[in-house]
C-alpha cells in the first residue's frame, strides 16, 4: 500500500444527506483504507470559496484529488461498491 489518497468530502452543513455521506464514507474506508486515505471534510456553508475553487456544484461531493486523475462522486455515497469503483480503490 504505497499510494496515498487525498480525498475531500464537500458537505452542506448538517443536512441529512451530509450526515449520511460522512457516515457512509467512514464505513467504506474503515476496512483498512483509513491508513492510505487522507480525508478532509469541507462544509461549503463555511468555506464557499473552496467549493468555488474546486467547481463543486452538488453536495455531498467526494473528490479524489490524488492520485490523478481527479474523480468526483456526488450523492450520499450509499453504495459502497460504486464508491470504491468510482475512486479506483479496491479492497482485498
Amino acid at each position: 500500500m504505497a499510494a496515498k489518497y487525498i480525498l475531500k468530502l464537500y458537505v452542506t452543513g448538517r443536512t441529512a444527506n451530509s450526515i449520511k455521506a460522512i457516515e457512509n464514507l467512514k464505513d467504506t474506508l474503515k476496512d483498512g483504507l483509513n491508513d492510505i486515505c487522507n480525508l478532509e471534510v469541507i462544509d461549503v456553508l463555511k468555506n464557499p470559496q473552496l467549493a468555488e475553487e474546486d467547481k463543486i456544484m452538488a453536495t455531498p461531493a467526494l473528490v479524489k484529488v490524488l492520485p490523478p486523475p481527479v474523480r468526483k462522486i456526488i450523492g450520499d455515497l450509499s453504495d459502497k461498491k460504486k464508491v470504491l469503483l468510482g475512486l479506483n480503490l479496491t479492497t482485498n
Binding site: L45, K55, P69, V70, R71, K72, I73, D76, S78
Partner: protein
C-alpha cells in the same frame, strides 16, 4: 422611494421603453431563446450596465462559457470585465463544464451551488445576478426532480435577498415551447423571449418580446434587437405622441416664388412632402431649403440616398452654392448611404443622435421612397410616424421627398401613408404642351395656412436654381400630364359644332 412598478433600468438601450420602466426589481426574469439569439450578450449587458451606470454590482453564474471566454468576448463591446472583477464589482460563479469525470451515488442536492452564489452575492454586495443558463443544470444532473427543487430554492433565495435576477434558458425551436424542460413554470413570473429568425430578405433578424411581467404592464409586440460595437440595442416601435408645438412662425423654403405660394413659407416644425418624378427638381428644392438654413446659420441634416457628397457639391456649385463649405464647417451634416446599408431602426437612431447633438433645425430626407422600397408597409409607416414625431417634438422643420414612378400623369401619393403624415404637400411635375415639356409646381395642402391653389410653372436656371415664372393658365388636363390649352379646346369644340351643323346632325 417606493416605486409604483418596482422596476429598475436594465441598461440596454430601448429596453426600459418596451418594458415600461425596466426589469422587475428583486425578482427573477427568465430570458429564453434559441441558440444564437443573444442570451449571453443580453444578460452580460444587464450586469455590465448595472455596474457602470447604476452602481449595482453583479454576479454572473456561467454554465456554458468559462469566465475567461466571457471576458474575452465582451472586449469587442469595449468592456473591461476583468477590471470590474478586480474592483470587486463583478463576480463569477464558474459552473462551466468540468472535464473530470463524475458519478452519482445516492441522493444529493445543489447545496454547494447555492452556497457559492450566496457567497459571491455577499462578496461583491450584488444587486444583480445572472444565471446563464439554467437549462444546463438539467443536462448536468440525472435527477431532474432535484434540479427543479433546487431551482425553486434558488428563486426563493433570490427573492429573499432582494437581488434582481436574469436566468436564461435554452429554447429548442422558434415558436415552440417557451423553454426546454419547462423551466419558466417554476422559476419565474416574468418571461422575455429572444427571437432569431430568417426574414423574407434572407437576413437574420433578432427581436425581443416580453411575454409576461406578472402584475405589471409592458409592450406586447416584438422589437428589433441589434448588436453593435457598443453592445446590444433595442429599437422599440416609436410610440409617438401628438405633442409637437404649433408654431405660427414660418420658415423660408429658400425659393421666393414657392414661399409666396405658401403665404410666407412652411410652418416651423412642420413636415413637408415633395413628390415628383425622377428629375422633376426635388433634390434642387431640398438644396434650396438647406442652403437657406445654412445662410441663416441654422444647423441642418441632409440625408441623401441617391447622390454622393461629391455629386451634391457639384450640383450645388452649378447654382453657385458652396454646400461643401457648410458641410466642412459643420453647419450642414451630410449623410450619404445606400439605404440597404443601414436598418431603418438604426436610421432613426442616427437621425435622433444627430438632431440632438447638433440641435439641427432643418432635416431633409431625399428620398423616403428608398426606405419604402426596402421595408414592408407596416414597418415603413412606423418609421415615418416615429421620425415625424421625433422631429416635431424637437422643433425641426423637415422635408421628405418621394419619387413618383410616372413621369407624366397622376400618381397616388395617398397610398404611401406619407400624405397623412405630412403637414404640407408640394407636387412637382412635368406636363407636355405644344411639343414641349413644362415644369410645374403646386401646393396640394398646407395644414393651418392658406396657400395658392394655382399651378405654377417654374424653371431651373444656373443663376438662381428654381425660379417660379408664373401661373400656368388657360390650360386644362394638367394633372393627366397631357395638357391642352383651354382656348384651343374651345376652338376645337366650335369647329366640331360647325362640322356637325354642316353635316346636318343638328
Amino acid at each position: 422611494m417606493a416605486s409604483k412598478l418596482h422596476k429598475i433600468p436594465l441598461g440596454i438601450h430601448g429596453f426600459d421603453e418596451i418594458s415600461h420602466g425596466g426589469i422587475p426589481k428583486g425578482r427573477t426574469t427568465l430570458v429564453s431563446g434559441t441558440t444564437g439569439s443573444g442570451k449571453t450578450a443580453f444578460s452580460s449587458q444587464f450586469l455590465y450596465q448595472g455596474i457602470t451606470e447604476c452602481g449595482e454590482n453583479g454576479v454572473f453564474v456561467t454554465f456554458e462559457e468559462t469566465p475567461t471566454d466571457i471576458i474575452k468576448n465582451t472586449k469587442t463591446f469595449g468592456w473591461n470585465i476583468e477590471k470590474l472583477v478586480k474592483e470587486n464589482k463583478w463576480a463569477f460563479v464558474d459552473a462551466s463544464p468540468d472535464y473530470s469525470s463524475s458519478v452519482e451515488v445516492g441522493q444529493y442536492d445543489l447545496g454547494a451551488f447555492l452556497a457559492r452564489i450566496a457567497y459571491a452575492v455577499k462578496k461583491v454586495k450584488a444587486k444583480r445576478v445572472v444565471i446563464d443558463s439554467v437549462s444546463a443544470l438539467f443536462t448536468h444532473y440525472q435527477d431532474s426532480g432535484v434540479v427543479r427543487q433546487e431551482l425553486h430554492k434558488l428563486a426563493a433565495n433570490i427573492k429573499k435577498s432582494n437581488v434582481t435576477c436574469i436566468m436564461t434558458a435554452e429554447r429548442p425551436l422558434e415558436d415552440g415551447q417557451i423553454s426546454r424542460y419547462g423551466v419558466e413554470e417554476f422559476v419565474s413570473d416574468n418571461v422575455i423571449l429572444l427571437h432569431n429568425r430568417l426574414n423574407s430578405h434572407g437576413e437574420r433578424e433578432r427581436t425581443i418580446e416580453i411575454l409576461k411581467f406578472r402584475g405589471s404592464s409592458h409592450d406586447s409586440e416584438e422589437a428589433p434587437l441589434l448588436v453593435s460595437v457598443r453592445g446590444m440595442d433595442i429599437y422599440p416601435r416609436p410610440k409617438p405622441k401628438l405633442r409637437g408645438k404649433g408654431f405660427s412662425q414660418k420658415v423660408s423654403t429658400g425659393i421666393k416664388g414657392l414661399d409666396d405660394m405658401l403665404y410666407g413659407g412652411v410652418y416651423k416644425n412642420s413636415t413637408t412632402l415633395i413628390t415628383g418624378a425622377s428629375g422633376s427638381g426635388k433634390t434642387v428644392t431640398t438644396l434650396h431649403f438647406i442652403m437657406e438654413g445654412a445662410k441663416r446659420g441654422e444647423e441642418s441634416l441632409l440625408i441623401e440616398f441617391e447622390e454622393s457628397p461629391d455629386q451634391l457639391y457639384r450640383n450645388a456649385a452649378s447654382f453657385d452654392w458652396d454646400l461643401k463649405k457648410y458641410v466642412d464647417n459643420g453647419t450642414v451634416e451630410l449623410l450619404c448611404h445606400y439605404p440597404e446599408d443601414i436598418r431603418a431602426e438604426k436610421y432613426l437612431q442616427i437621425i435622433q443622435d444627430q438632431v440632438i447633438a447638433k440641435k439641427a433645425k432643418r432635416v431633409v430626407f431625399d428620398s423616403i421612397s428608398n426606405i419604402q422600397r426596402i421595408y414592408n408597409e407596416r414597418k415603413f409607416r412606423t418609421f415615418v410616424i416615429g421620425l415625424n414625431a421625433f422631429l416635431k417634438s424637437h422643433d425641426v422643420t423637415s422635408v421628405f421627398t418621394n419619387t413618383s414612378p410616372q413621369i407624366l400623369g397622376i400618381t397616388e401619393i395617398t397610398e404611401t401613408h406619407l400624405s397623412t403624415a405630412s403637414d404640407n404637400i408640394i407636387i412637382l411635375k412635368y406636363v407636355e404642351l405644344g411639343g414641349r415639356m413644362h415644369r410645374l409646381v403646386s401646393v396640394l395642402k398646407q395644414r393651418g395656412s392658406m396657400h395658392k391653389k394655382d399651378l405654377m410653372e417654374f424653371e431651373i436656371t444656373a443663376k438662381s436654381g428654381i425660379e417660379i415664372i408664373g401661373p400656368f393658365k388657360d390650360v386644362e388636363n394638367l394633372m393627366s400630364g397631357f395638357a391642352r390649352r383651354i382656348r384651343q379646346m374651345r376652338k376645337e369644340a366650335e369647329r366640331d359644332l360647325i362640322a356637325d351643323a354642316v353635316a346636318g346632325k343638328i
